[in-house]
């Protein structure tokens, strides 16, 4: 077991990752945040946040600067790089980056978030930067006095659409749903309906972005009648939802749903021990700054306890002066419980020649894996951390004793 570079590595520097970093740093864990691009993640694209407790109104980038400063104050390390692959098969987690560096840690928190989904329709990619856009703050101004189409009806689509009306002559929103139904919050919907520059095309989707060198229009398909139509415009903004940025985890053994979101339990634990999933990249109900922060805190505390247990195991087992009996059991398996009692008894009779360490295979999967234990009960005998033998299972006290003498 070589020296690890860190205790805790957090992949992603959005609100979930930064909160985890604050908790990790405060718990005196050697904490590293690996972040691609600007710290703050997708929150940076939000002009105005009005639902983060304690901040009446703040811009996304400003709020993230505060998060970052807070993490800095607890001595968290930051690295601007991109994680390209991970190896989570062993207790020591290995992370490889685009700049060809390798980092190792006892626990990893995945907070890589999500990215805008592409529709993959003709013209979308070809005309990017020539009228096809994904960020109103960046690009709305380029459409001064022109006609713009917005695709989507979520919070982002409607709020960004209204921002674009400050520059554009007209903004036409293409909505999948029936007339009057938008996916966004009610306040924004009302404002949008009252905005004279906003128009809506209902029950529709777009099939193609038209134009040679620049966007000249879009091809719209009515989902009810199937009828296609064309609408002239100079710009198209896509806000058609997000996909999790978890593609680099494909080979990692982490469980993901078919869209790439990571399912976790209450402790933010993934199916792999010591690996946690937080924020937008996990399966969850609400994707906001405040819920991301909550995820980050939970995962960091869970990771801290996990690391503590790991360290305790290392000192109590690997560095024990006495020989150690690693007893693998499962609380649901009666046989293993009875065997456990017997082992204790035998050890007493041998005047505590051994130190008995019990391991529940239901929660300590990686230890069971490490010692290649497939059935319970199993006993591995260690001398100064090295395996010297395995006991043959027997409920006969004398036979057991004979093996231990």
């Amino acid at each position: 077991m070589g020296e690890l570079t860190h205790d805790l590595i957090i992949i992603g520097g959005g609100p979930a990752g930064l909160t985890a970093a604050i908790y990790g740093g405060r718990a005196k864990l050697r904490t590293l945040v690996i972040n691609k691009g600007t710290v703050g993640g997708l929150v940076n694209t939000t002009r105005e946040i009005v639902n983060y407790p304690g901040y009446g109104q703040i811009s996304g980038p400003d709020l993230m600067k505060d998060f970052k400063k807070h993490a800095d104050s607890f001595g968290v390390e930051f690295l601007g790089d991109e994680v390209v692959s991970v190896n989570f098969s062993k207790e020591d987690k290995i992370i490889s980056t685009k700049k060809r560096k390798e980092y190792t840690a006892k626990a990893v928190i995945i907070a890589c978030g999500s990215e805008p989904r592409l529709l993959n329709i003709p013209g979308e990619k070809r005309l990017q930067g020539s009228g096809v856009a994904y960020c109103a703050t960046c690009d709305a101004e380029f459409f001064e006095g022109e006609d713009v189409v917005v695709v989507g009806s979520g919070d982002q689509a409607i709020e960004e659409g209204m921002f674009i009306t400050k520059f554009a002559r007209k903004v036409t929103v293409i909505v999948l749903h029936d007339e009057g139904v938008l996916d966004c919050n009610k306040v924004s919907a009302e404002r949008a309906f009252q905005n004279e520059k906003m128009e809506f095309v209902w029950n529709s989707t777009i099939e193609e972005v038209l134009g040679e060198a620049n966007v000249e229009g879009v091809k719209i398909k009515n989902l009810k009648t199937g009828r296609p139509s064309e609408l002239a415009c100079q710009g198209v903004f896509f806000f058609v939802g997000m996909i999790p940025s978890t593609y680099f985890l494909k080979e990692s053994g982490i469980e993901m749903d078919k869209r790439g979101y990571i399912p976790v339990n209450d402790l933010m634990e993934t199916n792999l021990e010591g690996v946690y999933g937080v924020g937008d990249n996990r399966v969850k109900y609400l994707r906001q700054v405040v819920s991301a922060a909550g995820d980050g805190a939970t995962a960091a505390v869970a990771a801290e306890r996990y690391i503590e247990e790991l360290n305790a195991f290392r000192t109590s087992v690997m560095k024990s002066d006495k020989k150690v009996l690693l007893l693998f059991f499962n609380a649901l398996n009666n046989e293993s419980m009875e065997f456990s009692t017997l082992i204790e008894e035998v050890n007493q009779e041998l005047s505590e020649l051994y130190k008995v360490v019990k391991i529940d295979t239901a929660t300590k999967k990686s230890l069971a894996q490490k010692y290649d234990v497939k059935i319970v009960p199993s006993v591995v005998v260690l001398d100064r951390g090295q395996e010297i033998k395995r006991l043959d299972y027997s409920m006969d006290k004398e036979k057991l004793k004979a093996q231990l003498r």
Binding site: K36, G37, T38, N44, T45, P61, G80, K98, Q128, G129, S130, G131, A133, Y134, C135, T137, C138, D139, F142, F143, N214, V215, Q234, G235
Partner: protein, 108 residues
Amino acid sequence: MPLEQLNAKSFEEIIYDNEEPCLVIFSRKDCHVCKNVVPVLEELQPQYQDRVGFYYVDVEEDKNLFQRFSLKGVPQILFFKGGEYQAKLAGAVDEDKVIDKIAEVLES
């Protein structure tokens, strides 16, 4: 190393008069995608020293420059050679895409 910023006047001199192969990123301060792409160029710049010029244009400060190329968004990287516009890259591009494009422009 930060990229050298161009204004309308220095743009003329460097891009059209000197005719050196170069790239120019059109960017703006409050664009988060730009903030991710600019560092990519800053890191690449030393590798191309004396071969390709790396420049920066702020579209808010020099409106007429982006209007001249009828750009519809930032960030966009425009490539020039022999005083002529060659190609462009739009949006969130990574190192590999820039390297490939530079090679393409240099070979053409």
